[in-house]
């Protein structure tokens, strides 16, 4: 077993355990923090796969922005920040069935598709430059990229509109 594999296994165990605790811990703040650990674990996977850019983006977007806003929202809304209510709603078994089906599907897919054990193409030296060019290339992903930008802009304007206080009303 190489050192890389040991790192992978440790990260995998930590990530899975963190994900498990995210849904089982009764304390919402703790759940958010376990989620952060799970997201960090995913970032480590990206780094192990030589996808440095995605590893960093995973941390910037998911931990730096989304998770911190989650923690902030929980702090603002929960009195004493401790939730003592029931952890499951009445329809938890729907979620359980869906989760099981999804897991079975993914497992089946991995088993069914013959995945190559070695990379089929050489890893480009500067993947960010290629990614950037693909995003603005008319033959590449310029339209999805622009559509996503417009969507985000719409969300931004919507947020401003919702948060706007009219002084004369």
């Amino acid at each position: 077993m190489t050192a890389m594999q040991i790192v992978f296994l440790i990260t995998a165990v930590v990530t899975l355990f963190a994900a498990f605790r995210t849904v089982t811990t009764p304390n919402l703040i703790h759940a958010a923090l376990w989620l952060i650990l799970a997201l960090a674990g995913v970032a480590v996977f990206y780094a192990l796969l030589n996808a440095n850019f995605f590893a960093v983006i995973q941390v910037v977007v998911y931990i730096g922005a989304i998770a911190i806003l989650m923690v902030f929202a929980i702090m603002l809304t929960r009195r004493e920040m401790r939730d003592r209510g029931k952890q499951t709603s009445g329809r938890w078994w729907w979620a359980a069935i869906l989760g099981a089906v999804f897991f079975a599907g993914v497992t089946w897919m991995i088993e069914a598709v013959a995945l190559p054990s070695q990379p089929t193409a050489a890893v480009p030296a500067s993947s960010i430059a290629d990614l950037g060019k693909a995003l603005v290339n008319p033959n590449g992903y310029v339209i999805p990229f622009e559509v996503a930008s417009v969507l985000l802009l719409a969300a931004l304007i919507g947020a401003v509109f919702v948060a706007w206080t009219r002084h004369n009303s």
Binding site: I29, I68, V71, F72, M75, H167
Partner: protein
């Protein structure tokens, strides 16, 4: 390859051969070397703080017309060691109903996040991790420092600490925007996100090409560290000590060290991005000289930070937010567009020609911004005169719903 020119490579090779000689596998040796490097860098960084604490206390003391530490050792140099011994012997107190694991993790997380930035800083030519997204990585890791402060504020189970955590989120998330935008300017000029690449591309220091971006980066970084004039997260007169109000002993010391280390790390990043990093006469031939150059440059930036800290009073939270969102962010956006467009037009120019054109445009934009800010300030003063009418105190006006509605 002499000891003078490549000391780090030499030691690393020696260690590698030693481990391989013991019969360890290649992979394990690499992991061990990384571990040793990480421990050495972290220890050096934390040890360096001992000096920084003395320096800052001395300088701020002088600025405030005091002498500063002068009892222990020559010039008080041993004062931090005395403080260190004292604080190690102190008890770590856990508040009742504090969230114990988080309470302990918070300072460690903050300190670790700052040291993690050091992993990608090109200390000398050719040594250090050459990470192709290093510039972005420094921002990503900074998020963990923010998280550490939030956790400290929340887990202390103290209302002042919690208020401080709220302020931290507002301040750090906001000031991250101008920081990233200003950081993008050197990335754009160098055409790479690798810090080593950015240093190598600086035939002319980027402070010449992008002085305004450097200013924005510096101001926003000071805000991210949370130092005066942006120290709202630990405003003594309002929320006692903020997020570390309950901390004692080594846990408090970790926060304290983290603050100094963060300030110096910001200086180091500023030096790498805008002041040419290890560049200097003879640095390519003798890389160890590069380390000294980088250290001096980082120290200059750090000193300016201390200077600002010793000089300016604290801002109000609304002033701080307005300054970020209505001034720094739009200006940083303009500068980003300027850098992109102008640099494209100057493709064939020599480094100095390119630098001077950028400098001229930066000066022009700076003059415009100052003129606009003056005009805005004058207009606001005309519309809402602060001066009190006879018989009134010059304080904030009591709520006047009708008048408010018109003026807004």
């Amino acid at each position: 390859m002499g000891l003078l020119s490549h000391p780090i490579t030499l030691v690393a090779d020696w260690l590698r051969n030693l481990f391989l000689g013991w019969g360890l596998s290649q992979g394990l040796t690499t992991v061990l070397l990384y571990l040793i490097a990480a421990i050495v860098v972290a220890s050096l960084a934390n040890g360096w703080v001992i000096f920084l604490i003395w320096f800052e206390r001395k300088i701020v003391g002088r600025m405030q017309d005091r002498i500063g530490p002068n009892r222990v050792g020559p010039y008080g140099l041993l004062q931090p060691f005395a403080d260190l011994i004292k604080i190690i012997t102190k008890e770590i107190i856990f508040p009742d109903k504090a969230d114990k694991p988080l309470y302990v993790i918070a300072p460690l997380l903050m300190d670790a996040a700052i040291i993690a930035i050091w992993a990608v800083i090109p200390l000398v030519p050719m040594v250090g991790m050459d990470f192709n997204v290093a510039a972005l990585y420094t921002i990503a890791v900074g998020a963990f420092a923010t998280l550490g402060i939030i956790l400290a504020g929340w887990s202390s189970n103290n209302k002042f600490a919690l208020v401080s955590a709220f302020r931290t989120v507002a301040q750090m998330i906001s000031y991250e925007v101008p920081t990233v935008l200003a950081l993008l300017v050197p990335v754009l000029l160098a055409g790479t996100m690798s810090l080593q690449g950015i240093v190598e591309a600086q035939h002319v220091w980027y402070i010449v090409l992008a002085p305004l971006a450097f200013l924005i980066y510096f101001i926003a970084s000071v805000a991210e560290v949370g130092r005066t004039p942006f120290d709202l997260l630990e405003a003594e007169s309002e929320i006692v000590a903020g997020f570390h109000i309950e901390y004692s002993g080594m846990l408090f010391a970790t926060f304290y060290v983290g603050d100094f280390l963060h300030a110096f790390t910001i200086g180091m990043l500023g030096a790498v991005l805008f002041l040419g990093g290890w560049r200097g006469p003879g640095a390519e031939a003798y890389p160890i000289l590069g380390l000294i150059y980088l250290w001096i440059k980082a120290f200059v930036v750090y000193f300016v930070g201390v200077w600002v800290r010793g000089t300016l009073p604290r801002l109000r939270i609304d002033q701080m937010m307005n300054f970020c969102w209505k001034f720094l962010t739009p200006l940083a956006l303009i500068l980003l567009v300027e850098a992109a467009v102008v640099d494209r037009l100057l493709l064939g120019f020599t480094p100095w020609g390119r630098g001077l054109v950028h400098l001229a445009i930066n000066v022009f934009i700076g003059a415009l911004v100052i003129a606009y800010a003056r005009a805005y300030d004058n207009r606001r003063k005309r519309e809402r005169p602060l001066a009190a009418k006879p018989g009134q105190y010059p304080v904030a006006r009591p709520p006047q719903p009708a008048a408010e509605a018109q003026s807004d």
